[in-house]
Symmetry: C2
Subunit: 119 residues, 2 copies
DNA sequence: GATCATGTTCGGGATTGCCGAACATAGCAG
DNA sequence: CTGCTATGTTCGGCAATCCCGAACATGATC
């Protein structure tokens, strides 16, 4: 996993965040749910991909995380065999103030519709 | 035009606006530009599709307006041979406060990048 | 009517998204 | 060190979507 194949993980610089790309990343229920979950863990909390128990296949899940990372919504870091995810709240708030505050409750609604009861 | 083929134009009720659908509608530079332009014409101003001079084909343009309308971002009304577009600012502000305020400047940036100099 | 102006719809070619299956790597057990 | 498990990624395919030009539909105007 976390295939360390020559290239490191791509994370756009804060200044390179594109509005349309971020919106596209957030315009999917699964990804919105991921964001809401990450927002739930206290400041700068990190979660491994597996802890989400998403209703999609592993490969699709992997793709969703990739979209979020390349859009600059989350930051990923490898620790041993796990890939830890953290919300880039500061960067997003600085560039698109209010967007996350709008998206997070919507993501919570998605989680609730799945019967999820985590923070 | 505005083919009056049996069915009327579909406009979701204010309560039926879906966050992911609205974000998807706004996650495209062309559509973002359309929104910014509509926001430019004063309160409840209306613009015909042609006045936008978008850098895409007519059919693609037609599709973009359809996406915006079905997402509930704009309201369309036929007048003679033209289809007039109006931003559903009140409905959007009520349901997703701050989203349009965030999107409109970004749309203006797109317009500027096209060398556009309208309001 | 004939013609023009404004949009929509249709058909196909390219792009993108989702999945299962196979692969890659870290950690642990023996 | 040799498996074995746990965690993710990548690959090949099929299906859905997007963009375009061409054809069509409708209203206004001569």
């Amino acid at each position: 996993m976390a295939s360390r194949t020559a290239t490191e993980l791509i994370h756009p610089d804060p200044d390179d965040l594109r509005f349309t790309t971020v919106l596209a990343a957030l315009s999917d229920p699964v990804r919105l749910a991921i964001v809401a979950r990450l927002a739930g863990v206290e400041p700068d909390g990190e979660l491994a991909c597996t802890t989400f128990a998403l209703p999609v296949s592993k490969s699709t899940q992997s793709g969703h995380f990739k979209v979020l990372r390349e859009a600059g919504v989350i930051r990923q870091r490898d620790e041993g065999t796990r890939r830890l995810n953290r919300l880039r709240r500061d960067d997003l708030d600085a560039r698109f103030p209010g967007l996350l505050d709008l998206a997070i409750p919507q993501g919570r609604d998605v989680l609730a519709s799945w019967g999820d009861r985590s923070p």
